[in-house]
Amino acid sequence: MLDATLTPPRLPAAPGVGYKAQHFADLREAPGPVKWLEVHAENYMGDGGRPHAQLRALREDFAISVHGVGLSIGGEGRLDPDHLGRLKHLVAWLEPASFSEHLAWSTHGAEFLDDLLPLPYTDATLTRVADHIDEVQEVLGRRMLLENPSSYLAFAESTWSETDFLAELVRRTGCGLLLDVNNVFISATNLDYTPQSYLDAYPLAAVGEIHVGGHDEDEDDHGAPLLIDSHGREAAEPVWALLDHALAGTGPAPVLVEWDNDVPNWPTLRAEAERAASALASVPAG
């Protein structure tokens, strides 16, 4: 269990965007409502050069959230000590306001599969994930946030609901949660439950950050809707509605607009951040 006195400063309860290098100048000249930026940890694990220089400049004006995609917290194997070391180094020099990772796996043996892969929710996986979170928090000396995945299929062996699984991880490790409402909508559609019931069962008190983003629509072998987490367009209307629903429970929170593929020009992305700002403006202060 994490020592709560090690908790670093939080992200502001304001809109943030996933940082893309093509927006570097726009962000400094016309950030609009954007108060913080999220960067993928692995993109800044080179030794130097422009990525580091841009981050050093941006941290003067924006709070930074480091979002890992390569730690494989849901992996069957142990966490990669080299990768954990690189993360510790990044967090030490950048001093971000937040570090988050995913309830997923991406590494198998020596291979990195470059996707967030799903895991069953069982007593055994719960223990393993909790151990991994403990290790991360111990190495980084700070509380981390864990993000709910977007699911395309179910595991026959799961015995826990995702919401109970996350709540139990919070209880065991003291970690916080990153609530991705786009992922909630995707998983609920794909696995045939109501997204509102997910939020009602979800431990909203542990939320340290919320994600919104875009998805694509497809269908499965039987013609059932199959939503794909593409991060390549505006967030859909039901996802904005879920954001309102979530914020009503959490109170004002940092809200990130994720747009990683077919990255738009700055005004288009800023418009999404402005929409997040209006959602936040209608939340009664905690």
């Binding site: 992996g75 609901s161 045939d192």
Partner: protein, 266 residues
């Protein structure tokens, strides 16, 4: 729709799915979807597993396209994607640092029969890897050239030069600098039929390739191996008795490629 947020399966002997099984099916589309993965009604589903298959394949192909833009242009999108798909399945990344993904591509090309007739491809791939390494290399402080100027000629010849971590040397029998330039710059001349080793420097943040003569490449290789200047010049004159160090040394200084020197008394 179900009122609960997860379709709990009936207790009992449900199939388990190991990550080894998941991984094997992920990178081999001929394999069946692992047991124990279902739709919300408990039915088997291939379209749903295909999302993960597709995500991984597309992510790896995209990373290779981003990392090897000139190779992609030389082969055309369709051929490149085919190559990238085969490479990705045979050589998935071995690190979450995707910025370096593709280190094994030149060797893969070496054994890749369908493209064996384009012999310079693997050297172009090596150049593109070198440009990426230079981009992400550690920052360094440039040497004050006055320190070189202050050395007596005999001391200078025994001095060792320290290169910036961004400096890369790519040996080639092919005109890879010309090929790179012809495929990245609008008004570049057509490649000539000459051997072109390439020096990559990074004066600030943008890596820049420079064509070298074989003698210059031999000199730089010796410097990379920490030889004193005299030994490096010997290596160069073995290729070209008229070798003149001046232009390359000036280029290295202008490009902030030297960081320090060790003189014999150090």
């Amino acid at each position: 729709m179900l009122p609960v947020p997860w379709p709990l399966c009936p207790p009992g002997d449900a199939m388990t799915t190991t990550q080894a099984e998941f991984r094997a099916a992920l990178l081999d589309p001929a394999r069946a979807v692992p047991d124990g993965l279902t739709d919300p009604k408990g039915e088997p589903t291939s379209r749903r597993f295909a999302v993960y298959r597709n995500n991984v394949t597309v992510a790896l192909i995209d990373a290779l396209r981003t990392g090897f833009p000139v190779l992609c242009k030389l082969l055309g999108d369709q051929n490149f994607d085919q190559l990238a798909r085969l490479f990705a399945r045979a050589h998935p990344p071995t690190s979450p640092l995707m910025m370096h993904y593709g280190e094994a591509l030149p060797a893969f090309l070496d054994d890749f029969e369908p493209l064996a007739h384009i012999a310079y491809l693997q050297d172009v791939a090596r150049l593109e890897l070198a440009l990426r390494r230079a981009y992400h290399a550690a920052d360094s402080t440039a040497l004050d050239p006055a320190r070189l100027g202050a050395l007596a000629p005999d001391v200078l010849m025994q001095t060792r030069l320290h290169l910036s971590p961004a400096v890369q040397l790519v040996h080639s029998r092919w005109p890879i600098h010309d090929i790179w330039r012809y495929n990245t710059q609008a008004d570049a001349p057509k490649p000539r039929g000459i051997a072109q080793p390439v020096l990559v420097t990074r004066a600030a943040f943008d890596p820049e390739p420079h064509a070298l003569t074989l003698a210059q490449a031999a000199w730089l290789q010796a410097i990379v191996e920490n030889a004193p200047l005299e030994k490096a010049v010997d290596a160069a004159t073995a290729h070209d008795a008229e070798f003149d160090l001046g232009p390359l040394l000036t280029l290295l200084i202008q490009q902030n490629a030297l960081t320090d020197i060790s003189t014999p008394k150090d």
